[in-house]
Every structure is written in C-alpha cells, then in structure tokens.
Symmetry: C2
Subunit: 201 residues, 2 copies
C-alpha cells in the first residue's frame, strides 16, 4: 500500500504516521519487542522496509518510537470513574488489569518491554520513575479512602506498593494463562485483596 | 582462553560446558535475552564465536539452552526450611523474591525471558504450566497452614494465586527500583500481606 515513497501532503503524512503506529502496535501485541524489526513492521503495513527507514533510520529509533507509543496509548486510555475513595482506588487497579482484549494487548506489550528496559540504564531509571509515579497516584487514593474511613489507618504508601505489586503480578499470570485467569477471576482476586485491606489491621 | 577448537577429553568438555553456562548466565544477568547473542557470549568467555557455534548452531539453540539453564538453576537453588504450615508457605514466597544478588540475577533473567516466552506459543504454554505447578505447590502449603489453624478456611488455590501474584509483582517492582525496594522492605510488604491473610475473612 505504501510502495511509492514519502507522503506528499501534511494530511497524507498524518495518515501514514497513524498507519505506521498501528503496524508497530500489531507487531508488538502479537510478537513482542523481541520480534520488532523494520521488516516485521513493513510486512504488517504492506510497505517496503525502504519506506520505513524514512521513519526509523535505526533499530534504536524504532524501539524508542514503540516505547513512546506504548506510553501515549497508556496515558490516553479510557479510565474508570465509578466513585471516590475506595471505589476510586479499585478503579485505578482495575484499569491496570488485562480485562479486555485491548488491555491485554497493552499489558502484553508492557511486559514485553521490561527486558529492553532492564537492559538499559536510562530506560530502567525512566521505568522506575513511571512505577513510582503510579504508586504516588495510588497512595493519594488510599489516603482519600482512609479519610473517608473506608480503609483503616496506616502508611498509605505501603498499602499502595502492596496493591501495585498485586496487580502487576496478576497481569503476568493472566497473560501467561488467560484460561486460568479470565476477567471475572482477576476481579474476584482483586476484590478479595481489597476486602482484606478494609479489615482493621 | 578457548581459541583452539573443540575440547579433547570428557573432563575438558564438562569444564567448558560449565564455563559456557556461566558466560551465558552473565550476559543474561547484565543485559537480558534481548542482548543474548553468540558474539556477546563469546566476548564474555574470551572465546571465538566460531567455537560457540559448536555448542549453538543457531540463535534458537542458544535461547533454548539459556532457558534450560534458567530452569535448572531455579530448580536447584537452595530453599528455606524454617518450619511447617504458615512458615513453609512464607519460606516458599521468600524463595521467589530478589533478596540476594544471586536471587536478583535469577529474577532479572526470568523477567527478561517473559518477552520471548509470550512470543512463542509452545514456550508460553510451558510457562503457563510452570506457574500453575508453582501455584499447586503453594496451594499445598496453604492447605497445610489451614489444617494447622494458622490460616482461616477458604479455597486454598485462591489464596495461593493471590500470593503468587503478589510476589511476582513485588519482584518486578524490586528489579526496577532496588533502592525503593531493598530486601528489608520486600520482606515487610510480604509479612504485611501474610498478616492480612491470617485474619478471619
């Protein structure tokens, strides 16, 4: 579909960029960062690898683009808003789990990115910062639930770190074994976890 | 050190195999599966890539060897045995966490292997089976702790799945942010998790 070189107008350019993003996403969702090559993206797009080198002069540029795409799609995904306090804390945790095919793709790509991220000092620092920011947002919700009397008092950062660990590990289990961890079971496990948090401790 | 071709005796062969294993392990611990190449292993070993092709005729053979090595070292690692029932359940969970540099290397390699495993249907099935077997072993310990009255009654498989999720997620957090999750904090978070399990539910 894109065998005739570079786009000619700004509209063409934007449309192509969207198509390229979608092709990168599809390769990642199906085969992970291990298999992310110009050749694989070109095949997905029905384009030549030559065309793609206009977008990604190096393998590293492709990887960085993919990581940015993952970040953007994660930031802009729809979020649950079912209430305040404990309900908002639960919403934030449900938003992380692979409860839909779209969320499963996104999680599969996140897990796949961990190898690359752990292998690169800058990226590893960046990921540590992202997860710390995630814990900070959870901590605010825990503190709000404590103020409402829905969670017992105690260090909210500690509760947030535990909950983040729980959902990250549940993501990994559900990705490897979707038959054993269908959405309903993930939600049950999370609700059981939350029920234990609400008991005085 | 290994520039002169194939080993000449069985003893030489065994010694070399150990050295090759160690070189593969070091590459994985430092840079993950993404960076596992014959060239990287050869550099670590101080050998030629030519020598290594005797061991690993293809990239896939190298990856499979690395995955076997990870499995073997995990199976044969020392385990805690501090008691029965709840203590044995806690031991099994502590055995998973990156509480020592050796355990951190091993976990870093496990996390790194997830991308490759999720990208390959056979490997993915194999991993799902491994994690299910891990949950079964945890389930036995939960059931034993329930029989001793140390954990409240309830579906032990459900408790085991939650605990496995919790420690897997804690592994990921600790690998990305060892400063925020030193061994002592990991143990505190786990003990807090276990304390909530022991309360009637």
């Amino acid at each position: 579909m894109y065998r005739d070189g570079m786009p000619r107008s700004k509209g063409d350019h934007e449309a192509r960029r969207r198509d390229v993003s979608e092709a990168v996403w599809q390769v990642l969702a199906a085969r992970g960062f291990t298999s992310l090559t110009l050749r694989a993206v070109a095949a997905e797009l029905g384009a030549t690898t030559g065309l793609l080198t206009h977008y990604f002069p190096t393998k590293r540029a492709l990887i960085e683009y993919a990581l940015d795409l993952l970040e953007q799609r994660t930031v802009s995904r729809p979020r649950r808003h079912s209430g305040e306090g404990l309900a908002a804390f639960r919403d934030a945790l449900l938003d992380i789990l692979p409860l839909t095919p779209v969320a499963a793709d996104s999680n599969r790509i996140w897990v796949s990115s961990w190898d690359a991220a752990l292998s690169d000092a800058d990226l590893s620092t960046d990921y540590a910062r992202k997860y710390a920011a995630g814990r900070d947002r959870l901590t605010e919700r825990v503190a709000a639930a404590q103020e409402l009397g829905e969670l017992p008092s105690g260090n909210p950062a500690h509760v947030a770190a535990g909950a983040q660990a729980f959902v990250l590990g549940l993501v990994v289990q559900a990705l490897f074994d979707p038959a054993a961890f269908p959405p309903q079971r993930q939600v049950e496990l999370l609700d059981d976890y939350l029920a234990r948090l609400t008991a005085p401790h």
